[in-house]
């Protein structure tokens, strides 16, 4: 053991902490991004052409904002967004500071995924709800979000996995986490076992999240 992973064994505590940091960054930003993303995704679906509150102007504005935010490479977004981070968190470095760019980086992606998931809700079912006198709000909560739930769970899983990917880059602003360990310790000090071990932990996290996501999505499918 000592021969295969000599450095890893010396920094057990650091790995535990880094794993927690990764999980914290992922899920804390996921909660905020889920809220913003659902809001934007639903706004896109109802204002798009043929939507229940069709609004060409609003749709094209939201659509462009979504595309614009998605086009910024995350590593640059980390730097560009620092004034906002400073304003919201009071500092631009550290684990909590990384939540701001993570949320901004992921929620437009999530919004698109939500839009696509809701696009699969049968148009006829929406029409039936309208014919029964449902209000737009009722249609959003009782039809779109309920009928689309299994797909929303699926795209949420996908988004969380992408988010783990982004947290590893947040190491660039001193966020800590497994990505930081892999690069600033494993890579920088030529301690390959640290890099590989970080990767294995991340892979395990991804597998577990995927498994749970699939399981829950199936539960809601009838």
């Amino acid at each position: 053991m000592n021969n295969i992973i000599p450095n890893v064994l010396q920094m057990k505590g650091q790995f535990v902490q880094a794993t927690w940091e990764t999980l914290y960054m992922t899920f804390a930003s996921a909660i905020v991004a889920a809220f913003l993303g659902l809001l934007l995704g639903v706004a896109l679906i109802i204002t798009q052409p043929g939507g229940i509150l069709e609004d060409g102007v609003l749709y094209s504005i939201l659509d462009k904002i979504t595309n614009l935010l998605r086009s910024i490479p995350f590593i640059i977004l980390l730097a560009v967004i620092s004034p906002l981070t400073q304003f919201l968190v009071g500092t631009t470095v550290g684990t909590t500071a990384s939540l701001v760019p993570l949320v901004v980086g992921i929620f437009p992606f999530y919004a698109r995924q939500v839009q696509n998931a809701l696009l699969d809700v049968d148009r006829g079912v929406i029409e039936a709800a309208q014919s029964m006198g449902s209000s737009p709000l009722e249609i959003i909560f009782r039809v779109y979000l309920k009928e689309g739930l299994p797909d929303i769970i699926r795209v949420s899983t996908l988004t969380i996995i992408s988010l783990i990917g982004l947290t590893t880059m947040a190491g660039a602003i001193g966020s800590g986490g497994l990505g930081d360990v892999a690069i600033s310790i494993g890579y920088a000090r030529f301690e390959n076992d640290v890099t590989i071990f970080s990767m294995i932990i991340i892979l395990i996290l991804v597998f577990v999240i995927q498994f749970v996501g699939d399981y829950v999505a199936k539960k809601f499918e009838h």
Binding site: D122, G124, V125, A128, S131, M132, G133, K146, F220
Partner: protein, 349 residues
């Protein structure tokens, strides 16, 4: 509000769909009045504009021009909240059922009552009652994906009835179903009409559907109503070629004519006669009388008796073996008896 027998009045309705170079006129200047308690059929081929027209009734489709009047109220003048209240009184069922697959059968029927003033237990009881009406109480806890097409449509009917509507719109509700299931769904619609007094507006491309349950019918083509009236009347005396096509397809005369026309011995010289009996005349023994009195042998090649809106209507294609002159006299005699009779291949006499 004026008291009126007309539950639905469409006045000068036009619907244009803008496309890139020109507007497609889906519905053109249609006027339609539907009386309380009626079962009104609208028939036409796909693309005739009938789906668009019925969607105008509950304003799922905004007409480009014209007035939509429901129970004396012009729907276009209502605020969104009032329109939604009015829509609750107009139930709708669809070709593809449009049930929510995330909800159970019971949940689907309860859906229209969610957010209403009704308590949870009353809501459940009402939904179960409706499921009993459509014969599916035992499937209350199943999900739509586990049901057959006919069962899904029954659930959709129960759901459409949950708000105690005055009108039920059926948009090709039987088109995705097999003939036997179609029959049972039509029967259910008839019961809904008779027991609950709900007016039904039904659109279809099948004349059998119209003849089985409708009292009145409008024939649509290219965005216009080209013919309308009582079903028995339209069925027996179609004025437009399209209407005649629908009727002939429905009673299989068209197939029969083609089949018979293809046989050589009938296409050169034999006297083929097409007979149409309406109401009482279908019960008289006309053929044997003709055969006896005019000394003609009659070969029946095709015959069909149908019930249209409660009236018997018979169709027959027969070969008259004998002199053309006496055959013509026989035809004249039958016409006197109120039978529609004509020589089909008279040009080859």
């Amino acid at each position: 509000m004026t008291v009126t027998d007309n539950v639905i009045e469409l006045k000068d309705i036009s619907v244009d769909f803008p496309t890139q170079d020109k507007a497609v006129k889906a519905v053109k200047q249609v006027n339609l009045t539907i009386k309380k308690g009626d079962i009104y059929g609208i028939i036409g081929y796909s693309g005739a504009g009938k789906s668009t027209l019925v969607r105008v009734i509950n304003l799922l489709q905004q007409p480009t021009t014209g007035q939509v009047i429901f129970n004396g109220q012009q729907l276009q003048k209502l605020a969104p909240v009032e329109l939604r209240q009015a829509r609750k009184k107009i139930g709708m069922i669809f070709q593809h059922f449009n049930l929510m697959k995330s909800r159970t059968v019971l949940g689907n029927v309860e859906y229209p009552l969610l957010g209403g003033k009704i308590s949870k237990s009353d809501r459940r009881a009402k939904a179960l009652n409706l499921l009993e009406l459509v014969g599916l109480k035992n499937l209350a806890n199943s999900y739509p994906n586990n049901l057959s097409g006919g069962q899904k449509q029954r659930v959709a009917i129960a759901r459409a009835l949950a708000n105690d509507p005055e009108v039920l719109i059926s948009d090709e509700a039987t088109s995705a179903l097999d003939p036997k299931t179609t029959k049972s769904i039509l029967k259910l619609l008839q019961q809904v009409n008779q027991r609950l007094g709900i007016t039904i507006v039904l659109i279809t491309h099948e004349m059998q559907v119209i003849s089985r349950i409708c009292h009145n019918v409008a024939v649509m083509d290219n965005g216009e109503i080209i013919e309308r009236g009582a079903v028995a009347e339209v069925f027996t005396k179609p004025k437009q070629q399209l209407t005649a096509d629908f009727v002939e397809t429905a009673i299989n005369v068209k197939d029969a004519l083609e089949r018979i026309g293809n046989q050589e011995k009938y296409s050169n010289g034999n006297l083929l006669v097409y007979l149409n009996f309406i109401g009482q005349t279908s019960k008289k023994s006309i053929i044997s009388k003709i055969s006896r009195e005019y000394n003609l042998d009659v070969n029946i090649l095709f015959a069909n008796v149908d019930q249209v809106d409660g009236k018997d209507i018979g169709y027959m294609i027969a070969e008259f073996v004998g002199e053309p002159k006496t055959a013509n006299e026989a035809i004249a005699e039958m016409k006197k008896d109120g039978i529609i009779a004509k020589m089909i291949n008279s040009n080859k006499e």
